[in-house]
Symmetry: C2
Subunit: 143 residues, 2 copies
DNA sequence: TTCATATCGGACAATAATATCCGATATGAT
DNA sequence: ATCATATCGGATATTATTGTCCGATATGAA
């Protein structure tokens, strides 16, 4: 469904949502360790998220990545997915036809449409805040 | 959503559903040409489908692949997807947690559950016959 | 100033998915 | 029997994704 990069991205953002703020930054080492991901690979992903202003970064000693708590309800999952995986998940024809469309649909078009719309709606309306609010009962990091 | 192999598999089955029967077989060359796929790669896929009795094959001169029309309403999409891609699409945690479950769900578990159930239901109830019945208005092959 | 600890960013490596090649075998038609 | 045309199946090649390495740069603290 999502690429591994995208999975790491979501996990990293959730980790920072819970464990960082304006004056508590987390190093890429901390993040990779927490979400059980390869450190250098994760670094690239965080750079992308930083470039797209999902997370903030501070260079140098005592630097690291962080998210302002006040932004947690403004970050929608769809934004993260879009940055890392693009919109292929919604728009690419399920059977791989280049010109599949409403006018000239593939045999699976109608059946898949509802599922994709539901997925898109869910990702669009779910914020990081929504995710961490259920944390008591949920897995969050490596386990 | 599906792997490329799985896309080819579904397209090949749809092609055979429309263009073959007990005494009209289609060579792997015909199939690959019709669905615009690499011939040798498609051959492997057809072998798998044949081994799993989704399609039938006849070796030798005038041989090829075919599907008995009477089977078209018995072949569900879920079967093809399962043979080629396995059940990862339904069962693997969307965030990649190894032990994500109902009891210990990942932060996205509930949100993704409905979408996956809908997908599974759709694939389980849709037969090849259903797909080709709408063929008048649909793209079927390379265009 | 120097140092330790960060991110940054380009080059490279490993793995998995996709694609190709080629010889072997099967079989109906001539 | 021979031939043309199929599938069969193993080995190899290519490409995309995932993962690693290392030097450069930034910056707060001693």
């Amino acid at each position: 469904m999502f690429s591994k990069s995208c999975e790491y991205a979501i996990k990293a953002v959730v980790y920072l949502a819970i464990n960082s703020d304006n004056d508590t930054k987390r190093s890429i080492g901390d993040i990779a360790n927490a979400i059980d991901s390869p450190i250098a690979f994760t670094a690239k992903i965080l750079q992308k998220l930083s470039a797209n202003e999902i997370v903030k970064s501070a260079k140098g000693n005592a630097g690291g990545y962080y998210i302002l708590p006040s932004n947690l309800s403004k970050i929608h999952l769809s934004k993260i997915v879009d940055i890392i995986d693009g919109d292929a998940i919604y728009t690419n024809c399920a059977l791989g036809f280049k010109n599949c469309s409403e006018i000239k649909p593939c045999p699976l078009h109608e059946q898949i449409k509802k599922i994709r719309t539901d997925l898109r709606n869910m990702l669009t309306k779910t914020t990081i805040n929504d995710l961490i609010n259920a944390k008591e009962k949920n897995i969050i990091f490596k386990n």
